[in-house]
Amino acid sequence: MSSASEKATETIKIALVGQPNVGKSALINSVGNARLKVGNFSGVTVKKEEVRFSREGYDFEITDLPGSYSLTDYTIEERVTKQYLDESDYDLILNVVDSTNIERNLYLTTELLSLNKKIVVALNMTDEAVKEGVQIDAQQLGKILGTPCVKTSAVEKTGIDDVIQAIINTYNRRENRFHIQFSEVFEEEITHIVSFLEEKKIKCKISLKALAIKLLREDRETYLRFHEEPIWTELQPIVNKAYQHLYLHYDTKDLDDIFNDEKSALAKGAVAETVKFNKEITQSFTDKIDALLMHQFVGLPIFLFMMWGLFQLTFEVGSIPMDWIDAFFALLIDGTKNFLGETELASVIADGAIAGVGAVVLFLPNIIILFLGIALLETTGYMSRVAFLLDGFFHKFGLHGKSFIPLVSGFGCSVPAYMAARTLKNDRDRLLTLFIIGFMSCGARLPIYVLFVGALFSEEQAGNILFLIYISGALIGVIAAKVLKMTVFKGDDEPFVMEMPKYRLPSFKLIWHTVSAQAMMYLRKAGTYILMASVLIWFASNYPKQVEMDQEYQAKVEQAQTEEAINTLNNELALYKLENSYLGIIGHASEPFFSPLGYDWRMAIALETGLAAKEVVVATLGVLYGLGEEHDEQSRGLIEKIRANISFPAGISFIVFVMIYLPCLAASMVFMREAGGPKYLGYLFVFTTATAWSLSFIAFNLTQMLT
């Protein structure tokens, strides 16, 4: 903008507010050339987004607040929105309204109007409203609400310039009118209080009318302010009298009731005067789909089939690029070692950093596909239906219908599962779900199960045992949920009241935005936490150095005759080094803790390295039982060694421990962030370790008795 650069540009700060599913984000996107900046609210996972752009010589700074039905603190979203509107610095509110469902939307608008800020109302989804025969007189509505109302359509990109013009006009308007008209009874009481305040020449940032309303609403801060003033002795009887009148008129002593009544009446009145419905409500598109998807018998199977499809896709399609990524990192590791030679630096970079980060990046395709699926489920409106279908079953265990998605994702990988738990709005439900996700055995634990089941059971039994492991893990999880619900997360059940939004075709732009943001976050984590942790573990398993031993074995290897002898010597050396590394020392130190479960120091170390990544457990066991590092679950040799070295009860007890104990480091870090702090990771550690230990102890002793 050339004119903008000549004079100092003014910045208009706008708070974008609306109920969920009204197309706020779509409206922002259609403003065009917007620079999107994604910001995280500290502590909570709900995002507010900021967009900046310049038009007509002004800089616009829009904060996209999470969707809220009203300004209460029922959900995290509403809390974030309310707090922002009450405490932050902004010039005006842009209230986005769904034209097809205007009465309910205006309920929020009346609440916003009571804030006494400058407001522009965007009547969005005009295109849909026209199709549904909803005719709105925007000008008349603007007069009733006392603030400009503009018709827009984010999909067809109409009305955007009008909104911007209305924002500029409203911003430049000097005085701030308070135009909202309550019922006569109410207005009368307000007028009484206002005239008293006027007589006393009370000065206030907000208008006296807004102040009077705050007094009537029993607003804490307003009361605190007046309580200390001498005027209070005179003001109190006036407010009290107003209450008496209102109680009498509304036949209730509940102020919330009175205000809700007022707001509803206001919204209803405005709609009656300005909106015409030209079509009868007939069976809509949504009704037809719902008749099938929400059917009491067919609904659930359809959903299960869709989930099955999603997981097939995640792991089948996801495995293709996984092979490429795997090959790429293998190449990178070799390349680094070739380039730097057999030095310590090469080892820490290649075996520590690159290998560790590579193992995390490996899961990126799975995560993208899974999140794409979840984003589709959410934006189309199907997710709410799923919650509806499953709530009955989950409620029995103290879980919420929406817990299902994160729990099922947990069978794949706990990292996206923890992230998927964000769909739960209520903190307590979300935390409970986060705590039991680990019980759903993730893909990385499979190699351990395969190894131990192969060693302890016959081949015909193996498949069933494997299935049993997964099922019992899930069962223990739900039971744990019930126990946690009755102890830690006790309290009243969170009410299940949610809107079933209209089915809508998702916008590509919005889905892309969501998925790419999540993928970026995942990668960022791989580059920070995982990098650090990998280097740390590399260090712990390689230091202190055993120079003398190295030389001694070097000499022995040179004298060795056969390939086999060299291998044995190398394994001996590796074992010695690991046993005397910091990691080995820790393993020995923790042996007493694990010995009641039947484990020796080697199994203890394997479990401890498993804290970094479950994949490492098999590799560690391979090294410790003297086979060298290159072993996976298929290797016959390792299975034989396990069978020879580990007793049946100890093996069973080991499986149980692996099923339950803390997920890998990557997942733990994500858990910590999602749950809201290190202290929750502490709780999770204690909770899972205690459960794993006790159940393994029982399993060990039980199998010992039976065999």
Partner: protein
């Protein structure tokens, strides 16, 4: 009668909402207040959860919440 006693396809008028403050506010932000007309859209298995419609808003709620809403069924 209360809302959870309604059959699928029945409509009713709300006469009272007997819930705590938080839930009541939630209900009214969805437009579920005294005097509105409600349509029962569907139930889940065992009637643990139900879906109702007010104007154009579809709301799902548990039977335990629906119990708190007094209604008079329309003919």
């Amino acid at each position: 009668m209360t809302l959870n006693e309604l059959q699928k396809g029945q409509s009713a008028t709300v006469t009272a909402v007997d819930a705590n403050r938080e839930l009541k506010n939630r209900f009214s932000s969805f437009g579920l207040v005294k005097g509105v007309l409600i349509y029962t859209e569907c139930h889940s298995l065992a009637k643990k959860t139900m879906e109702i419609r007010i104007n154009k808003t579809r709301i799902a709620l548990r039977a335990s919440e629906a119990e708190k809403i007094e209604v008079v069924a329309s003919e």
